[in-house]
Symmetry: D2
Subunit: 407 residues, 4 copies
């Protein structure tokens, strides 16, 4: 029966990597023999294990090794990646390797190179001459590009829990808390925001129209003005409701000051969109003095970059909305460099979309009143996501208060 020797390094015990690996081996009908195991005595020590894995046949062994690599296992004999040419534009070759959002290296003849960006569900295009390895979506593939096939020569470095417990994202892990006191967590978030800004990290907000509906726009605008937001990804709804509110004081016909239905239904909404269409877009509307307040106005005034992505649900998009999903993803991905924190609020659709684009290293905070949305986003198998099931307006109010108190 074929066997191969793998090695595990790092915080393999307390990150549960070792047990997961052993479990995987057994669950797939293979066996293991532990050659050597050194367990770090201190939290800061690295552990090490060398394990010989034996499977019934080489296909099963290959499949198993592929899985173990995703847990961070390295195969001892170093082999180069295998490449095959893309058969047509937009088509991967047979047996292409599917990426995760973890840091990944491919081995060429003369050493390893890192795959960039750390983007999930892509193939890896290698240019051996230029020594680059690029995670590439279908639409980036041109006929003849060299694409990684199989799983030989690939090394994945899963995110490991840091040894210090100072970080709310590690402390909370994917803890979705409904009936928990949230003030302590929000205070920690305020500190994370501050730390991130001191280290020049970019903070991305993925936001839904609920920010406007719940009356939280004013808090959000403060964060923008204070320099805490560098990037906003949203749909047509957030922008259109924000502009409706700026122009008419309503959001889908609800007066945000008095909470009263004005009986205008979607009319103000349509008129707001029409006004911006007449002006030629959001920036021209700010320049011309049509738009004088609100989230989008603050973004323009404070040079916060934004991408508005269209959806099949938007029947009347603003001119700034990128209605093509693939183009909108490209626009988003082009701006992700340098993002260290992503705060997702009140949008299931855009949050999942952006989560698909983020590398595992970006810290993610998801705030929604729907526990299903929070669970779906916070539970993505990394140490870096915190979910809060709560109302957006009081959340942003409290976050803003903590940040203000600490400025």
């Amino acid at each position: 029966m074929p066997s191969e020797t793998i090695e595990l390094r790092g915080h393999i015990i307390d990150s549960l990597i070792l047990p997961k690996v052993l479990d995987e081996i057994i669950a797939r009908g293979a066996t293991f023999k532990i050659g050597e195991i050194r367990i770090g005595e201190q939290r800061t020590d690295q552990s090490f294990a060398r394990i010989e894995v034996t499977a019934p046949d080489s296909d099963k062994l290959d499949e198993l090794i592929l899985r173990l690599r995703q847990h961070g296992a390295e195969v001892r004999e170093k082999k180069s990646v295998q490449l095959a040419a893309a058969p047509a534009d937009g088509v991967y070759p047979q047996g292409f390797y599917v990426t995760t959002n973890q840091q990944t290296f491919v081995r060429l003849e003369d050493g390893e190179i890192e795959v960039k960006p750390a983007l999930m569900d892509s193939a890896i295009v290698v240019d051996p001459a230029a020594k680059t390895a690029q995670a590439t979506k279908f639409y980036g593939i041109k006929k003849g590009m060299e694409v990684v096939v199989g799983h030989q020569g690939i090394r994945v470095v899963p995110l490991q829990r840091s040894t210090a417990r100072t970080d709310i994202f590690e402390f909370m892990s994917s803890n979705v808390s409904i009936e928990k006191p949230k003030s302590a967590v929000i205070r920690e978030m305020a500190r994370e925001f501050k730390r991130s800004r001191e280290e020049q990290g970019k903070i991305l907000v993925v936001g839904g129209a609920a920010i406007v509906h719940t009356g939280a726009a004013g808090h959000f605008e403060k964060l923008i003005e204070w320099g805490y937001i560098q990037l906003l990804f949203a749909g047509n709804a957030l922008a259109a409701h924000d502009i409706e509110n700026a122009l008419f004081g309503t959001s889908l016909g609800v007066n945000l000051e008095h909470g009263a239905l004005t009986g205008q239904g979607t009319q103000n909404h349509m008129r707001a969109i029409n006004a911006v269409r007449g002006a030629g877009g959001i920036k021209p509307a700010v320049a011309s003095g049509l738009l004088k307040s609100g989230i989008m106005y603050s973004c323009v005034k404070n040079d916060v970059d934004f991408v508005l992505a269209g959806s099949i649900r938007d029947d009347s998009p603003l001119p700034d909305v990128i209605t093509d999903a693939v183009e909108a993803q490209k626009a988003m991905r082009a701006k992700l460099e340098g993002v260290t924190i992503t705060m997702m609020m009140g949008t299931r659709l855009h949050s999942i979309a952006v989560a698909n684009l983020l590398p595992a290293t970006v810290k993610t905070l998801c705030v929604d009143i729907n526990p299903g949305v929070v669970a779906k986003l916070a539970d993505r198998g990394t140490f870096q996501a915190v979910g809060l099931v709560t109302d957006i307006e009081p959340f942003l109010r409290e976050l803003t208060d903590f940040i203000e108190a600490d400025r």
Copy 2:
């Protein structure tokens, strides 16, 4: 075919009573002829309609008239109620009339008397000599008591929308709002609370342990101290977690200050209950100096009456908990007189239980982060329930802030 003439009075158009009545008649295969209709010109005017209803047979007519009475229809020929003796303790006679929680009158030989209390799903025990009519649960029935049977001689007066729109409970009706701005509603609630207190109305809180878990106990204690709460109905959980928090600073082992798990699990919880058991109850625990803070402490110190009702889920009740459900209901009902506002927060079980006990005239506010709970409670077919889907801690914080600003 048998027919009967009914009359409708009041705001029968804008309370939708007339169309509901006509609809009911047609839907049950009966026909109607409108004898007279006078529609109030002004909002403050009463309307009137006299309608002759004809049904295929007298059984169907009876059943229909029964339904129409529940919409407020009066039958023109006045007949006295029919009574039958209860056949045994705890058993109603055949054909007993089932009450609603609307104001109801029964006609005796010499005039009408009001049924008290306005309690749903009961039978009516009449004492012709004493001229009393009492809504009575099974357990209040003694053999031989005179109980109303059939539906003759009964008049129901459904709650009608007042003509002024100053009242949040009428303005909102059963509007369950997730993505709405809540500040305006909470500000209105603060005004309602103030108004109720000025008019000597009692405010009842039905509360769950989420008040403590979410860190909202401090806000609640302020409301108690300021005299805004006269009555608290809860389960073992609210009291036990509150006392755990007062004694150990945790709620089910979660440190409420730092949001951190102490790793004590249910231990502090059990020790808190044991300590109160040792003291002989909550009041002795306050008297002895064991219990020095928290919601229950504030209740004792400010003479807020409380009923703690047991549940099959509580495996370790405090000594103050009434573990028998029937006894607990009796204790609650005995204290409901004079209650004008009920605020239900964070408990599905106790909120439904109390909703079953309340007359239709009590204004009800239901706050929960679970939209299903709010929908179930806010949508009980009266004009008097407001539901808010939101987090309890920020809700109570904002309510307290509004009340404080206005003191």
Copy 3:
């Protein structure tokens, strides 16, 4: 004070139109005098009311009349619509009238013409020469087109409840039932489906990937084969998971036969998409023999038209997916003619999108295990939506069984 006389006709009592109109008048500070009222004695009779409405000023009167029109009120003096030219491509003129999805007529000099299609949140482009009035989205507007402004000369005919109660869509109205017996409703749905097919009505399914995940694809394929589905609107997910299942027997790596995780994660998913990309699309993949089973295969084989609309969430779309939201909506709208029933299953995003496109006359059934989705879709203010909170697989199994038993 200015006044105007309106008339109401039809089932204005049992459709609650009269009380809504009176309520609206009073709520907006106007007064009314009922000139004449004739209430139909029988369910099949039409009722009639003539009401003089007086408002404080003509602006308020105009706004009120606009609202009353949406309840079906007609203004007695007949005036023609007012038109204004679109100032630029994609921009409506100031004061444009916003459509609903109800049947609407505009009055020209020489009579009324119907607005087509009955599409909400559009403006109305009138061609007086050709005597056409077309509901037109922003992107259909060219500079200079004549667009209806104000609300004069517009008549809306709200959908009225039919007099017979044979129709499940009227019987249920927007009843969202979790804890109700569903077999009776599903049996009625089977009958509606049969009736619709006998009358050559088209049945549209809006479907999410949950149809595949829950193992319901086989039932759905039967409906297609038996000729019960004419149109399928979906996203990339439904098609991609269906094809993954057809090629690999898994859906996102879950073996649908054994319910077991294969540990392949998203790999099979990516390989399925790649295979279809290699083939050049779904139809070529069927033609070439690559795709031999599944929902998409059945659609191709049975000439069921489909539109796959992209979403920002899809990072790897099939070639058949229309990634531009506006183009996808156009493609959908072009196929809606003749649709009498829409069945929405397991997709919030696409269901809301399609609901925005449907005229009020299309009967809509929404099936989802999430009560929030069902409530949002079933409660759209018409008599024609039924919501079922249930699991898709057993729902489709039972629906298919009823239809089969009755074939």
Copy 4:
């Protein structure tokens, strides 16, 4: 700094016990030195680790050791448990040990004895003479009883995953699946039921009124008749609705055959309860011929034992309902001996109550359409709970079909 040596045995790697223990040690500021580690090579092999734990002070060490014991750690030096006398009836002594629902042993001078039953959140009463150790709730405590204090001499044996993967409860673990194919899981459940019956295990159903509302009573009755149910725990609602359905064909006034509202509201419900009250209870009602069908009838006819527990929500209990929560729990616990499978369906309240009473060894299946209920119940930290988010009627239909096919 004080230290102690602990030992871990069993499937400590693949049950994740070792990493949890190491993690706990570090997280609490203690350090460890691994003296010996032997990892089982085969899935069936036991592993072993001896670890020296050092903490800053002996209080911290004690607290840590207490936690480690709950992960199954044994302390090497064997000491006897410490006992203290209960200071009063119903009160534990200071420092009492709080039980889990795992198998637990206490060490006396002359050896270990097992604590019975395995009941969480109790204290342990030891009778050294009789050599018994009993988990005892507050109400079982009499003044002077010897109760375990501290954590010395206590050994907890956590449930370990079996080495075979034939068991659905281990295979699924706490997997709550909404969008998964459920047929495979239900088929496995049918097999588990059969296996349990062959081994004379008792099957307990904890059921809510949704079984009746959703029209699933017929399926449930089949399971009873075929001998698959030995015990039913429910509230007043299940029994009252079942009997309403048996006597009147409705459930809260909804006709279960036609799904139509009969307009009787709660009347039939009240009349059904009154009829049983008149008969003197459920068994007399069956004996007298009043009750001739339904779930409760089948229970009586097939000698299925039942406990109906009251709730503050029940305003009109059947005479069989135990309205006192403590008495109802006693009645339930007295019948749990021999139960191997518990199926919880459609009741949050009673399911949580029963979950509190069950030892960790009982396999639990929780079926509910509300994912929150399923998550709460399935995620209780054992390997033995399976949650299904689905509709009860089709679930029971399919389960019954599988069992029938296999009889």
